[in-house]
Amino acid sequence: MKSFRFWIFLVGLSCLPLAGLFFGTQALAETTAPAAINNPNPGIELWQAVRGKLDSPTATQVRGHDSSVLVNPQGELWMSIRNSRLIPQGGQALLVVLLIILGVYAVRGPVKLASGESGRQVDRHSVNSRIIHWLVAGLFVILGITGLFLLLGRPLLIPVIGKTAFSVIAAASKEVHNILGPLFPFALIFMFVNLVRRNLYEKGDLAWVAKGGGMLGGGHVSAGMFNAGEKILFWSTIFLGIGISVTGYVLDFPNIASWVLATSTEFTQYRHVMGYAHVIHSVIAVLFIALAFGHIFLATLFVPGTLSSMTSGKVDSNWAKEHHDRWYEEIRNKSSGDNADP
């Protein structure tokens, strides 16, 4: 009992300073505070302005889009996206796509013609179509490889061949990518004009998609000149191509806004604009390359007999009958069949 009282006393004693605080603040509140300083410390505003948090006017004698910006906080965002998203996840995404393709090939194997080759060739793609296809394809492969060097070269190639050798490859990649890149949209425009008529929606396309192009359920699905999968490829190429071309021009020509939009001040190629353009460009590029992996795989390994339509322009009549039955009917009704479809 005695010890209990002692503890009560001790707790009370330790609370005394708190009581003092209570009365002390009461006393402080009663006395009038000295007149506040009207002028805020300019140091606070200065460092907020340095970080760009106030819209203070800044000036410098150095010319440039944003040379009067002291601290560019967007740079760190771009750095973290590039280093922890684009490089590892972009590389992994392409690897996963390759593994899926390998899996599909292992499970479903090459799709051989059920009735074998007839030996009779029919025209499928005209010379113009083939030239345009290989123009787009050639530019795509060059731009894709040089772009991947710049994105993934540091983690993958420098440990193998060293900095000096990789620098030569990267410097060449940068120049080739910058010089050939601007031609890509023109190749795409040719391809669009050449193939758009055959890639519009037709009856039967939805059924083709529903059956996975014959992957699900088995058996061939009826298709015209281009099946729905090829149409998806075409429109993906066009839309990804528009995105990659716009962002590519922004990145390749740092002053293009002042040439093209000379009258507009809405769009200026600040560093963060370039950063966003780079991120969008890279994401589209990875999707585009994954799409191209799929296209190349389907046209060469998976469906034998397809590649000749883009080399000689001719395909076996049984190939046409089995894979593009409605188109085969179409060209057969045109009797002679020597005038090639685009």
Partner: protein, 199 residues
């Protein structure tokens, strides 16, 4: 080990651009490239302050982490330098740098970006110290001669300090202790009708 640092005293900088000129002259920098620049906030208004800025030689330099060819390195003095033989002039360091330090001359094909150029803390590059080749690519190597960067040496008001980070912060701390900051600064009461002086 010394860690080299720049510090610009915004209370002292008078925007004379002497540091910019000294830098351009000492390092023979081409037209269009400014390794150092002076930025004035609220120019002509109340609260005007100027700050001279160049490469800040970060400990965890963002430029070095985004470089696709890994051309950056940090010297034993904590100076961030790059190898122009490896640099490809892609411009990624400029996107990542908070301070806008990397500069690009128009020397690539079709006037595209050439190899990056930036403040070296007057410490040259990877070549032989004070060789002709080093001067051509990177400018002066004053550190190897036992001197500090010329921008800071030439600063008329000693606003721009350069050198060992400990020494620089000692000097700046002494200044702040002596002159105070904000409302405690000498002259504040005169400028603002004695409102700054308490009691």
């Amino acid at each position: 080990m010394a860690r080299m640092k720049f510090l610009c005293d915004a209370e002292r900088c008078i925007e004379c651009n002497g540091c910019v000129t000294a830098c351009k002259n000492e390092n023979d920098i081409p037209w269009g490239v400014n390794r150092r620049r002076v930025v004035t906030i609220n120019d002509g208004n109340h609260g005007e302050r100027s700050i001279s800025v160049a490469c800040m030689h970060c400990s965890d330099a963002p430029c070095a982490t985004v470089c696709p060819v890994d051309c950056f390195y940090t010297t034993n003095d904590g100076v961030v330098l790059h190898d122009k033989d490896i640099c490809i002039g892609c411009g990624y360091c400029f996107y990542a740098c908070p301070f806008g330090a990397p500069q690009f001359p128009d020397s690539g094909a079709f006037g595209s970006r050439g190899k990056m150029d930036k403040c070296t803390f007057c410490a040259g590059g990877p070549e032989q110290n004070n060789s002709v080749e080093e001067h051509r690519k990177y400018g002066a190597n004053r550190l190897a001669q036992g001197k500090l960067p010329l921008c800071a040496e030439m600063c008329a008001t000693k606003a721009l300090l350069a050198g060992d980070g400990d020494r620089v912060s000692d000097i700046f701390r002494e200044r702040v202790m002596y002159r105070g900051a904000g409302a405690l600064q000498w002259g504040w009461g005169v400028a603002y009708d004695k409102q700054g002086i308490k009691g």
